[in-house]
Every structure is written in C-alpha cells, then in structure tokens.
Amino acid sequence: MYKENTVEDLMRSGHFACPGCGVAIAMRLVLRALGRKTIAVIIPSCASIIAATHPHSALEIPAFHGTFETAAPTAAGISYALKIRGKSDITVVAIAGDGGTFDIGLQSLSGTADRNEHYIYVCLDNEAYMNTGIQASSATPRRAWTITTPAGRSARKKNIMEIMAAHRIPYAATASIGYPQDLMDKVQKAKGIEGTKFLHILTPCATGWRMAENLTVNAAILSVETRIFPLYEVFDGKKYGITYEPQGLPVEEYLKIQGRYRHLDAGQIERMQTETDEEWESLYRHVTDCQRKGAL
C-alpha cells in the first residue's frame, strides 16, 4: 500500500546511534513515510542524540530539540503556529522515548490528546532510559533487568495504548521495525488524519537488552510473533483492528535472545507466557467486539 514515495531517506549516515540501534531504524522509516514537508520535535532521548550534535544534523528536515516532558505541547505549539500562518501542508511530528512518554511527559501528552491537537506523536520504546544508561522506566517489562532493577522490575509495563485510546484520539497504532511496510503505512495513515495521532513503536536496544547487535530486527519480529507486542490500530479510541496476525510463538523464543531476561527460571517464563496470553486475549476481545458491531 504505497501511497507516496517511501524510498527517499531523510536521515543521513553518520548519525550517532549505537551499532544495531532499533531507534535509528524507526526514525529512518518514520521520516521516509512522512517526507520532506515535516518538522520534527525531538526531546531528550536516544533519538535526540542520534540526530547528531551542534552544529550538525543527521536529518534532512527541520527539527527542534525540546525539553524532556514537553514533546507533545511543543509539537502542538508549532502546529498551531503553522495553521495561523496558513502553512497547512507541513506535518509536525513529536519523537520521544518511552521515558519521555510513559513517565515524565505523560501529563502534557494527555493534555494535547485531550485537546486533540493536530500532530503525530511517535513513541520510540526501547523499554528503559537507554540514553542515560539503562535505568528502568514504566515501559520496562515486568522481570526485565536494568541497572536500577538488578533483580528484574516488579511492576508490569504500563499499557500506554489503552491510556491513549481512553483519550478517544482519532488514531493510535503500534508498529515494529520488524515490519517496515506496516510501520510506514501507519505513519502515512496518521499523516492523513486531523487531530492527535499516536504511534507506539517497539525499538529493540542491543545495548540495553543485552543482546548481539545483529539481533535487533529479530527481536522486533519475535516480539510480534510471540504476541508480546501485537501490531494493531485503534480508531477514535474504540475501533480496534489487528494489522498483522502473529504466529503465537512461545514467549521464550523472544526472551532467550536477550541478556536482560537471562536470570528468569522456568516458572517465571511460564508466568510471562500466561500474562502475554491474557493481554492478547484482552486485545482480541476488543477486536472481535468491533467486528461483531461492524465497526471495521
């Protein structure tokens, strides 16, 4: 479903990402899908460093390095200004990490979603504060090792998609660097919708997940195929649709390639499987409800 040219790269080589970085792949795909008429707000996160340091830029679009907790209102502010100045053909995208979205920026993100301000919010989720060196966020999964959760995090991963869906924004979707076409399709879908759009992209982090650099995309694919990170979209907070039917591989396939889960015993892996199955069933109920009501 190529709606526009999605071949032109707007991210140059020579950026500052670690080898095997999932965030860099996601940024490249998002910008490809958005095209040149885009202004990006990038808050402190891996993405802001990947975009290179003063006076350089790895991006071929104008970007602004905002403050940690203000990706959303900063993007909305630019969007208002563009509208006031009659520049309606420019897309504004906010790019934030999981810490900047799930934690410190949640209040302001909720504010813009409530007001349904016109921009795309992209959360590049690598499941911890990776830019500051692997500290747990509320996007870190239960039992995952980080430097601040040496025995594994005890709380479950916050369900940011349900939070955003509860705001009844016109469009929210998950996407994965393992499924680039699905990701770019969703970005372009978001671009064509008026109001606040939210994209939750899982971006495996070889450094922080304690795995080999060549496993980033494998990890992304396995997160989807094990139903740990299903690919779906939600319209108006109510109409759910799965965009890729996962195989339902055992979660162990995903866990075993990552050093951050190395400490799990068989019982813990079994509980991870149960929790994943429950989450999937809950999501699937939303989808079948929608199908039953003929919403999609």
């Binding site: 202004i39 975009a51 003063h54 970007a63 403050t67 502010g77 302001s108 301000e117």
Partner: protein, 384 residues
Amino acid sequence: MRDLLSGNYAIAEAVRMAKAQLIPAYPITPQTPIYERLSEMESQGTLPGVMVRVESEHSAMAMCIAASLAGVRVFTATSSQGLALMHEMLHFASGNRVPVVMGCVNRVLAVPWSFGSDQTDTLSQRDTGWMQFYCEDNQEAFDTVIQAYRISEATMLPSMVIIDAFFNSHFIEPMDVPDQRLIDLFLPQATLPERFDLNDPAFISNVVTSGAQFLPFRERAFTDMEKAKEIIREVDIEYRAQFGRGYGMVETVQTKDAQLVLVTSGSMTSTARMAIEALRDKGLKVGLLKIKAFRPFPSREVEDALQNIPKVAVIDRNISIGKEGIFCQELKSALYNSTARPRIYGYIAGLDGLDVSPEIIENICLEVLGKEMPDNLPIWVKGN
C-alpha cells in the same frame, strides 16, 4: 478612550491590541482574570489570537516557545507556583531567543499557602535570562505590555510584565486605552525569523559538545541583554512621543537635594509618592527612586540618581532568605564600584500583601534619617 480597568483587564486589553496570535493559558490566582478576560474576548470574536487551554503552566510556556520559534506572536500569564513550575522553560525560552511576553502577577510562594502580593516569585527567576518590568499601576501595565513586544522582538529576549497581586491585579483604575490604529503604528505585526526552514533544515537547540561551544551562546545573550537597555530607552521615548506617557528604566522624584532617597518598585511606589510629599511638607529632604526595569538592571540610571545622596532606604516586598531584600542586594552590588556610595538601609515590608501605608513609609524615613549606620540585617516591618 478613557476606561476603568483592573490591572489584569488592562493587561488582557493590551494583549488583544498587540494582536498576540497564540495564547496558551492556565488558571492561577491572582492572574486568572487575565485568562478569563481573554477567553471572553475570544468568545465574543474580538480577540485576534487563538487561545489554548493547556493543562499546566509548564506546557503553556513550552507551547509559547514552540509557536514563537515557528513565527507567531505569543502571550501567557501566571503567578507564584505557576511561575515556579515554569522555571525550566523560562531558561529554555531565553536560551532559544524567543520574544515571548508574559504577564506576571506577584503572589507569595507556598509554604504557608497564601494569595497576597510578594515579588519573590518573579525575583527568584532573576537568572533565567528574561527581562523584567515592574509596573506601578494599571496604565503602566497596559503601556508596558505594548512596549514589551517591541523590546522583545527587537532583542529576541523574552519579557515579564509584572504587577502586584490585588493592589494592581484586582483594583480598578481609570486609564487611557489608545486607538487600535495608533497601537498598530507603534507595534506592527510580528516579523519573526524563520527558524524552521524546509529548504535549509537545521536541528535547533541541539546539544553542544564542549564549553567552548557553549560559552558564545551565553556571552551573546548577555551582550544582547546589555544592548536591550538602549532599546528599552528608545522604545519608551517613542511611546511617550506617540501616547504622551513614558516611564524610563527608573524614575526619580525630588532626588536632587535629598538627604534620603527611598527605593521602591511596583504598586508601593504610588504610596511612597504620597509619603515623600508629606515629609517634604514637614521640611525633610526626602526623594524617591522607582526601579521599573530589574533585568536588565539599570545600573547607570541608579548610579546617576544616587550620586551625592548620603542615605538610601530600600523597601522590599520580597525576601531572599539567608541574605536580605532582593532590590536591596541589587542596589548595593550596582553601587559598589561606583562613586555613588550612600549608606543603604534595607526594609522588608508588605509581604503577602500586608498594607504598606504612607505612615509606615514616613516612619521608615524618619528612622533612617535618625540612624547613623545601617543594620547588618534587614528590618522587618510588621504593619500598623
């Protein structure tokens, strides 16, 4: 046109006439009537700009910065806790060189919780790189908002236009509201630089990687804040020529032959004017120095005003715990390398809106006139 307006409404009226294009706002006492009045104008179709009812002051400033970078004239207003919450974004605004104009209504910071006037909220934002203008009355607040846009857009530094809680914000005074046509001539539509250029893309407010890269940014801002003094003077002169009112960075009243000069800021200045008159009637040579611009600090004007003055009494409606009143400190530091070396007596009065009556001010003057040396610590004035 003559009108009766509170300080808050005067600011709202000036923002409307300045044609601010985007106004992200959040309620906090005693600033709220600015937000409410602007909302009322918007609903009546008389506000040229767009209002956004944001979820915090922090986001209000984030949105102001973003929209200003994207080329539109912006405004917001706040007080006290709201200003403190904005603190991070205040540095971010000046660092990004955006000409944001903000109305600030001085209110005490908790704890204890209260609502009365106290300048410590804005004064503790001293080092954020914002210009600060303390207004005496509602007319001055209106005029200063109009001037502040000219000054900020010429210097690319943000401005706070500051009034006292209740004494200004809620008291209604007769004032002159100029014709829109004249305001438009004085303050044309904003022509801000294009920071987001699709044809020449850059990563704005990017990370610098060494102190050698960092320093020129601060040095440039410092130099431009120094240059702002001249721009403030010029804009004020032009405003006076156009509208018949000007204020200067400071104002002096009967300081030429004074044995004692009172230093005040904000609404207290009006009371001090009466006290000075009463003391002059009693044959006492007392003058007044009103400080309007706090950042940039008008060191030259202060030095000139206090040459050959033996004594100065500073009345601060604010306190820096661990030192003294903040205007008092600033005055001392401005004069240290100067030939003007009066003895400086510091008083703390009017915190939380405690009344500072003409009698209180007269008594302060009498006490200072009869006192050989200043105390090391400020004197706390507890009211009548």
